[in-house]
């Protein structure tokens, strides 16, 4: 079982032009702990929507790799989106689910993945051709290569330790989070659109 922040650090190493969307809660704290940047879009709400935000972003920016990092609870809430993404099949979209089998933000209640639900199999069943399991930092490095090679859509499932780490909070004004990524991508013209 991997440490979630070591996993994120490995996947985000030398990130180059990578855009990252993080599901609300621990995944958002993780990417912020590695380093907050305008190329990060950490969510504070919209549970179940992370991968669809990633899809819209990937379609709008086909030359940039887009990675969605989220948890098992958030992914389960919007799991039908995997079918939508398989249908659209953007090469530049990758999804990493950090599966600790718990709702860690709400007191550690167990999720369905604790009881046999396999999100990688669900992704495969949805039609996502490239699914993989990450069990080591070496696996994480291979996944990172696939993300940057834009060989997607690719879905990776990593079992991680269920422990609460220190909170590292990103800005919580959503208008800033949106505007800074738009400016990062579009320049000052973003604010005149």
């Amino acid at each position: 079982m991997l440490d979630r922040r070591e996993l994120c650090a490995a996947v985000l190493q030398d990130r180059g032009d990578l855009l990252v969307v993080a599901g609300l809660g621990a995944s958002a704290w993780d990417i912020t702990a590695i380093g907050d940047t305008p190329a990060n879009f950490p969510l504070w709400g919209g549970m179940g929507g992370a991968v669809m935000i990633g899809l819209g972003l990937a379609l709008a920016q086909p030359d940039r790799p887009v990675l969605v990092i989220t948890g098992d609870g958030e992914m389960l809430m919007g799991v039908g989106a995997l079918a939508t993404i398989a249908h659209q099949a953007p090469r530049n979209l990758a999804i990493l689910v950090q599966d600790n089998e718990h709702y860690s933000e709400t007191g550690g209640q167990q999720t369905a993945t604790r009881h046999g639900t396999d999100l990688a199999v669900m992704a495969e069943g949805a039609g996502i051709k490239r699914t993989q399991r990450i069990a080591s930092l070496a696996d994480a490095a291979k996944f990172r290569d696939a993300v940057h090679a834009k060989e997607g859509p690719v879905f990776a499932l990593a079992k991680i330790e269920a422990k609460n780490l220190p909170l590292v909070l990103p800005p919580r004004e959503g208008a800033i989070l949106q505007a800074r990524m738009r400016e990062h991508l579009l320049g000052p013209a973003a604010h005149l659109a």
Binding site: G46, M52, L55, A175, A190
Partner: protein, 178 residues
């Protein structure tokens, strides 16, 4: 026959022209018969990305991602789908994201099916409760100016907006019992 405009009605083509004029590039939808002709036009256009969603809230999240990446989008759905969007509409308020929605009504003027009434009658209140500016169009003459206002309000003032296309305009599904 689903609740759908007469084959000769050309307003779906005019809405398509509006979407092009406002530089819409991604069209999220869960199909509805009232939108069938517009959907066909969008699918035939290689400059529009049509994203068929498994539930309407996916479309709300897609609009957030499209705008993040610098593209304009729209969500087409039936009124029943509005109920599926409620919490996801938070994204528009949280981030000040333009989210125009074109909603074909059921459970509205002349409805036959009792099951359509609860969500149909709650559609406008639901959207407004989540911060969406809502306009209704119940006549042919109203429709295009209302859709255009919905697009303008979304992209000029950065928020969720909706046009509800009424059943008076669409025609009510009658299950052969009219």
């Amino acid at each position: 026959m689903e609740s759908a405009p007469a084959a000769t009605a050309d307003w779906p083509d005019q809405i398509y022209d509006l979407l092009k004029r406002y530089d819409i590039r991604q069209v999220a939808l869960v199909p509805d018969a009232g939108h069938a002709r517009l959907i066909r036009r969008c699918l035939a256009d290689n400059d529009l990305r049509v994203v068929t969603c498994t539930t309407e809230e996916e479309g709300v999240a897609l609009m957030q991602g499209a705008w993040l990446g610098g593209q304009r989008s729209v969500l087409l759905m039936q009124s029943s789908g509005v109920g599926n969007c409620i919490n996801m509409l938070s994204l528009g308020t949280i981030h000040r994201c333009p989210m125009p929605m074109l909603v074909t009504m059921r459970g509205d003027f002349g409805e036959f099916n009792p099951a359509q009434i609860p969500m149909g009658q709650a559609t406008q209140a639901t959207l407004e409760a989540m911060g969406t500016i809502v306009h209704r169009a119940d006549t042919d003459a109203d429709l295009l100016p209302t859709v255009e206002a919905t697009l303008k309000l979304a992209f000029n003032t950065f928020r969720p907006t909706a046009t509800l296309i009424g059943q008076r305009l669409l025609g009510a599904k009658t299950f052969g019992k009219d």
